[in-house]
Amino acid sequence: MSTFTMAGALNAALRDRLEHDDKVVIMGMDVGKLGGVFRITDGLQKDFGEARVIDAPLGESGIIGSAVGLAIRGYRPVCEIQFDGFVYPAFDQIVSQVAKMHNRSLGQVRMPITIRIPYGGGIGAVEHHSESPEAYFAHTAGLKVVTCSNPSDAYFMLRQSIDSDDPVIFFEPKRRYWGKGPVEIAETAPLPLHQAQVVRPGNDVTLVAYGPMVATALQAAKAATEDGRDIEVIDLRSLSPIDTDTVVASAQKTGRVVVVHEASVSLGMGAEVAARLQERAFYSLQSPVLRVGGFDTPYPASRIEEEWLPDVDRILDAVERTFTF
């Protein structure tokens, strides 16, 4: 059991897959010598060469479109999108090609493509560098969408995503890159990629979070103990598919659920989780499933991002509202 930052764990996972399968190639902007703007690919080009760790021309559509061609040729491309807000030029290739090619071929060609996207805010960045576009992809049939909240998940989920024969959009909570945690590299039976995890058991209320908000939810749960609230925290991990059973089971136990994410609330993941909960746990719910997320505005200027982003207080406020409802 050794300790990694999330960035280090991701780097280790990439290295591991590059060694394990020579059809794995990494593509993106500045992923070579620089090792990516977040250093996630640090040292990989040096060790695996320019043919496998490729500094791409500056076009996201080109990166994803060529990944589709590489996949047809039998490769397993891992693409890095430099920041969340820059995935949109590739949206067409992702939605109309990556997501649909397997289906179009009646299952005869596979798209084992992993698209890594550092996402979320809280790092004091300029525009387009702090967005949370996960809902766009979770609404797109043919894609699988996951996100990690800690170094161990980062390591195993990225390996599992690269191994997946289906395309996976892999969201990395950039503001957690430098957080440390234990990773049992030797672990042979990690949690399945699309399974959610109860990261803190509790009986009074359920907090459903993922990616960057899991740490915040855990802080809230801790703080709530002072008010005598015993909060259960679920790390969704997989956004498409959603491990509904785990969430429903928790709701049946606690009767109260708050979903937390950075993305704008309207049509965000919280909407889907709420819709499913009232479908599957109607009589168990003691109060409405509440959503704490970004407001329905563009991501704000960084000086006020902390006010815009969900935090412990806003989460606890929602938790209280599930009781005073």
């Binding site: 190639v25 043919a51 496998r52 490729i54 791409a56 021309p57 076009g59 559509s61 080109g62 994803i64 479109g65 060529s66 990944a67 589709v68 061609g69 590489l70 996949a71 047809i72 040729r73 039998g74 490769y75 491309p77 030029p89 067409d92 290739q93 109309s96 090609q97 649909k100 090619m101 397997h102 289906n103 179009r104 071929s105 009646l106 299952g107 005869q108 060609v109 596979r110 049939a141 043919g142 699988k144 997946s164 024969d165 289906d166 699309h194 498409s240 598919p241 959603i242 509904t244």
Partner: protein
């Protein structure tokens, strides 16, 4: 001097067979070809046109929902298609029926998506012919990525004729305005990839004449990206074959990408849903008919090669057999089952989707139960 002073010269069009069927020789593009080989090309052209015509008829009869005819572009497609080697890969648009023919893709397979029984449904790697791509230009980037793979596999510049591999991708004059096509040029040039970009300039993008897209000949764009571009008579199957061969050879040998602009004409409607009389004059069609890609080959075979009538009769008979087979096979294409929509979304079906499939199956079952009077 002003920046805008210069007027580019009109490009000459590579031509090896005149509309009248006279074989001409081009200093830069010699073509070693026997009359038997020209007979074989003629057969391709005739059968492709016949297939295409049948498909149009099948649409009229309601057997297909739509058809995008390649009428008039047979030479551009057969010339390019026959320049490919078995190991080469082709990335088509939605109109490359002539190329599919050369790749030995059963024409009936192509009908599936136009009949609406599938969204394509063939395996790109079976005949090295990728799926039809409807989103304009998207396939050119797929070709680039595939070529990256080819290069990484060491299948370029080895000198082994059956190993060195080229990638041929198709797009139209209209699609040349899409960002993806231009990004494909950039990638192919920057990495010197074995890709040949084959633009069929059929003068129209639905109702938009090529002038809406560019004020200079399209082949010239390649030079700006650092690779050669050339315009050929797209209705001259020999020119298309000769230049495609050269470009593919140079790609295989590691000399990088080429842009070929096949100057041709969309003789039919954009698709069976289109009505060209709304936007173009019939005179235009008349002039192009004089440059018909098949007539000139026939004229050559009769006048210069002395091929006799029996040959043409035999091909006529063969095309009849093809037509019959296509008609019957098209009608025989089976509709997919409602439940099949869930099956190829993922290699590994998600539990979510499995649940949706199960409950939909149950829902469908409830009707049968009702119908058979059986209790649910």
């Amino acid at each position: 001097m002003t920046l805008h002073g210069h007027v580019p010269p009109e490009p000459d069009l590579v031509q090896l067979l005149t509309p009248e069927g006279v074989r001409v020789h081009h200093p830069d593009f010699p073509l070693e070809i026997t009359d038997d080989e020209i007979c074989a090309l003629y057969r391709d052209l005739v059968l492709v046109r016949r297939f295409d015509g049948e498909a149009t008829a099948l649409q009229r009869q309601g057997e297909l929902g739509l058809w995008a005819s390649c009428l008039g572009q047979e030479a551009a497609q057969v010339g390019a298609g026959r320049a490919l080697r078995a190991q080469d890969m082709a990335f088509p648009t939605y109109r490359e029926h002539g190329v599919a023919w050369c790749r030995d893709v059963d024409p009936v397979t192509l009908l599936g998506m136009f009949r609406g029984v599938s969204l394509g449904g063939w395996n790109p790697n079976e005949n090295n012919f990728s799926l039809y791509t409807i989103v304009l230009g998207a396939q050119t980037l797929h070709a680039v990525g595939y070529a990256m793979g080819v290069a990484r596999d060491g299948a370029v510049g080895t000198g082994e004729p059956d190993r060195d591999t080229a990638v041929l991708t198709f797009f139209g004059d209209g699609a040349s305005s899409q960002g993806d096509v231009n990004e494909a040029f950039i990638w192919a040039a920057a990495a010197n990839l074995p890709v040949v970009f084959y633009c069929q300039n059929n003068q129209w993008a639905i109702s938009e004449p090529v002038e809406r897209q560019t004020r200079v000949p399209l082949f010239q764009r390649a030079a700006g990206f650092g690779f050669p571009g050339i315009r050929i008579d797209g209705n001259d199957v020999l020119a298309c074959l000769a230049v495609s061969r050269m470009a593919l050879d140079e790609a295989r040998s590691g000399q990088g990408p080429t842009l070929i602009e096949a100057f041709t004409y969309r003789m039919g409607a954009h698709t069976t849903s289109d009505d060209p009389t709304r936007y173009r004059l019939s005179e235009e069609l008349e002039t192009w008919k004089l440059r018909d890609p098949i007539e000139r080959v026939r004229a050559y075979l009769i006048r210069e090669a002395g091929v006799d009538q029996s040959f043409f009769d035999e091909i006529e008979a063969e095309s009849e057999r093809l037509a019959v087979r296509i008609r019957d096979a098209c009608r025989a294409l089976e509709d997919p089952t409602p439940l099949s929509v869930f099956d190829n979304v993922y290699v590994e079906m998600t539990d979510e989707l499995a649940e949706q499939k199960a409950s939909y199956a149950e829902y469908l079952g409830s009707f049968e139960a009702a119908a058979t009077g059986g209790a649910a």
